[in-house]
């Protein structure tokens, strides 16, 4: 595959690179089924998790991924650290880099932070974006694509895209980096994306994106999409005039039991977590046979192993690309 120096945005991946990453993740998932689920591949390499924003799930997923590849892991969480005393991204990154690290996994509240870090002269390490503001979360996009591909193609997934797959994303697209991560990747893989949300939660100018949009969840369900992805409604949106109150939101845009019962038999349900049960998704839908929520979590580790492996074996030194290719 092509040498990938950093992973900053899902839209940076072309079809071949994206499929290569998904295929590498297949190999990594196989490792998890072994008696000792660990590879020596990144022995002696150090990965720093820089989390300027809380995200236990993503941090644990990256930690597990790095450890399964035998990398050393340094974790930095902003809470109670010098960041709360005003230390900047630059200073923190340089401090960590001075300890000698090979890759930085960055979670930051500011959109573009990973790109700014990667394109600066502040550090020399590979940068993996683990979520930047409301911009992107490329490993989430990849794990969602992986989960969809697996659900559709099963053991024959290798080499496949998502051609013709119809994915409907419902909810707070405006503030969602998960939605953008999927939007940046799924069309590249051949999927068609439909967004459903009240007008207040659809991004301004979304009609210029390669998607269709509407505000009618019932019509979207009747349209029998292959995937229905419900987005989390953040607590802080409840009182900012995006919608009147939770009950009205749930009534129009929640996957309640009645709507769930109407889903086409082949429609899969996804949610990036953590879920607000009873708001955007009912317990029945979340815990059903066709919910892929736990697959998403499990696949997250395999995808992050594939990403760390790829950025640390390719691109660092031009000559190492071929040798490092899987």
């Amino acid at each position: 595959m092509t040498g990938l120096r950093h992973l900053l945005a899902s839209a940076d991946l072309d079809r071949a690179s994206a499929i290569a990453l998904l295929d590498t993740a297949e190999d990594m998932a196989d490792v998890a089924t072994r008696r000792v689920p660990k590879l020596p591949t990144l022995q002696g390499r150090t990965v720093a998790n820089l989390f300027f924003e809380d995200s236990t799930r993503t941090r644990l997923s990256f930690e597990a991924a790095a450890k399964r590849l035998s990398a050393d892991v340094i974790t930095f969480s902003a809470k109670g650290s010098s960041v709360s005393k005003g230390e900047s991204l630059k200073d923190t990154a340089q401090t960590i880099a001075a300890m000698g690290i090979d890759a930085v996994v960055l979670r930051h509240a500011a959109s573009g932070a990973a790109r700014v870090l990667a394109e600066s002269a502040w550090i020399d390490a590979a940068v993996v974006n683990a979520g930047d503001g409301t911009h992107d979360h490329p490993t989430q996009g990849l794990l969602d694509a992986y989960t969809m591909r697996k659900a559709r193609h099963g053991a024959d997934s290798r080499g496949q895209g998502l051609d013709g797959l119809r994915v409907t994303i419902v909810g707070d697209v405006l503030h969602s980096r998960v939605a953008r991560a999927n939007l940046g990747l799924l069309p590249t893989l051949g999927a068609r994306v439909h967004l459903v949300a009240p007008r207040t939660l659809l991004p301004f100018g979304a009609e210029q994106w390669p998607v269709t949009t509407s505000s009618d969840l019932d019509a979207a369900i009747a349209d029998a999409p292959d995937v229905l992805m419900m987005l989390r409604i953040q607590q802080e949106r409840m009182h900012a005039a995006y919608f009147p109150h939770e009950r009205e939101y749930a009534g129009f845009w929640g996957l309640d039991e009645e709507r769930f019962a109407r889903l086409h038999a082949d429609t899969m349900v996804m949610h990036p977590g953590p879920m607000n049960r009873g708001l955007e998704i009912s317990a029945a839908a979340a815990d059903s046979e066709r919910s892929l929520v736990l697959d998403q979590v499990a696949n997250g580790v395999a995808i992050r192993m594939a990403v760390l492996y790829t950025v640390l074996s390719g691109g660092r030194h031009a000559g190492a690309r071929e040798a490092g290719a899987a």
Binding site: L89, A110, G112, A113, V116, G133, T134, D136, F204, G205
Partner: protein
């Protein structure tokens, strides 16, 4: 230094006439072909354009209070390097320029520095807080003779307060310069609202937040019969509102900044990859973060057309220096603003003159005569006429250069043009007969007080 006489030979005036100019005792002493030098220092201006000294209606000099960003001295040096002889120092200092004492101090610092006439802008409201009027009359009557009042950086958003400000400022022949930004519509705003902001995940600054305030203000100005100046127009819709207001006879003037006439939001997505020499911008390049934000290409085209047809009266820099650390961070954490004094004329040439929207006579109008009229600055009504103050600048419009740190003569280096090739070069600037720039070099003026350290 004003005792030194200069004979400028063969300069081409804005109207195309080529002439010699004798500068003596701070004034244009003689004008005509073949003047004899009579002991004056000769300045060869063959092939150069002489422009009246440039007047900036919108400058942030940061002193008092933010001297790590800029001082009156460093900012007026930047002004001279850019061909300016008068700058209007915005009120968002600390303490705020909302009393006669502070504006007199700023004016005195400008006079002591000597590089340009520093005209303090008075705050409209106490502490820029938008609650009650600042002592506008006292500032107008002070030795600083303030005529431009602005809460720039903040919008006077309360409609009643804006009405009263327009009326009260008119009492003193002043003008309110409004920073048009509806605050609720722009909470947390980071860049122009549109598909690009949505893709980049940056909170949008919608055009309507500017246009709605301008529409309200021109109607208020009409209602109370006062004049209004609108700072940094950035959208095509704002141009439409101003055009409508002028057709209706409302006493409104409008400005555009050089950066809104040249740069678009698209740069924020990054184009450095297209240009391996790093002349372009990296993604989320915080040097491009400015308020109001860079807009779409169609907005830039509308602004250029509006300057060309006079709907927009002047170009003003909104020179906004910041320390390096305010820009060396993630986009959302970076300060708004870019420096602009040193690059303004080059950008105007690139955006308006070279494409044929303006000739040099128009440049003299939008960068000198009209801003001086709006600010009631004396001495700019008859440039190059014998007896007039010798505020002028000599420009080589045929020069092209890669704009670099060496061109930045203020304290701020937050210029979006670093590395970009720009036309034109300031060869000399004369402020009241004093050469502040000569042979393209900023001159060192004797400092009567060592206030740079203060």
């Amino acid at each position: 230094m004003s005792g030194t006489a200069y004979l400028i030979r063969g300069a081409t005036l804005p109207d195309g006439e080529t002439t010699d100019l004798l500068v003596r005792e701070g004034r244009i002493a003689e004008r005509g072909a073949g003047l004899s030098d009579r002991g004056a220092i000769p300045v060869d201006a063959a092939g150069l354009r002489a422009l009246p000294g440039l007047v900036d209606l919108h400058t942030h000099l940061r002193e008092p209070g933010f001297e790590q960003s800029e001082t009156v001295l460093t900012g007026s040096r930047a002004a001279a390097a850019g061909g300016f002889t008068t700058v209007h120092a915005m009120a968002n200092t600390f303490p705020v320029q909302d009393t006669a004492g502070v504006v007199e101090q700023v004016a005195a610092l400008g006079a002591a520095a000597g590089y340009a006439t520093v005209r303090p802008v008075g705050a409209v409201t106490v502490g820029l807080a938008g609650e009650r009027l600042a002592e506008i009359g006292a500032m107008a009557r002070s030795r600083a003779a303030v005529r431009v009042f602005s809460d720039d950086g903040k919008c006077v958003h309360d409609a009643l307060l804006m009405r009263r400000a327009l009326e009260y400022v008119a009492t003193f022949d002043g003008v309110v310069a409004q920073h048009a930004q509806e605050p609720r519509l722009t909470e947390g705003a980071q860049m122009n609202e549109g598909a690009l902001a949505s893709t980049l995940g940056l909170a949008g600054w919608p055009a309507v937040a500017e246009e709605a305030i301008i529409a309200r203000d021109v109607l208020l100005a009409e209602h109370v019969g006062a004049r209004l100046h609108v700072c940094h127009l950035s959208t095509a819709g704002s141009v439409d509102v101003i055009r409508w207001a002028k057709a209706r006879g409302i006493a409104v003037t409008a400005e555009a900044t050089p950066h809104h006439l040249l740069l678009t939001e698209q740069l924020i997505a990054g184009d450095a990859a297209l240009d391996p020499d790093a002349v372009g911008h990296r993604g989320y390049d915080s040097r491009l973060k400015v308020n109001p934000p860079l807009r779409r290409d169609e907005d830039v085209r509308a602004l250029r057309a509006a300057v060309a047809d006079g709907t927009i009266d002047i170009v003003a820099t909104d020179h906004a220096p910041h320390p390096v650390e305010s820009k060396e961070c993630a986009w959302a954490e970076a300060s708004f603003g870019m420096v602009g004094l040193e690059s303004a004329l080059s950008v105007v040439q690139a955006a308006l003159v070279d494409p044929g929207h303006l000739d040099w006579g128009d440049v003299a109008r939008v960068l000198s005569r009209t801003p001086a009229e709006i600010g009631r600055v004396p001495g700019y009504d008859a440039p190059f006429a014998p007896g007039s103050p010798a505020h002028l600048t000599l420009v080589d419009p045929t020069a092209r250069r890669r704009f670099g740190r060496a061109q930045l003569r203020g304290r701020g280096v937050n210029s979006p043009y670093l590395g970009r090739e720009l036309p034109g070069r300031i060869v000399a600037t004369f402020h009241a007969g004093v050469a502040t720039v000569l042979d393209g070099e900023l001159q060192t003026l004797p400092t009567p007080t060592d206030h740079e350290v203060a």
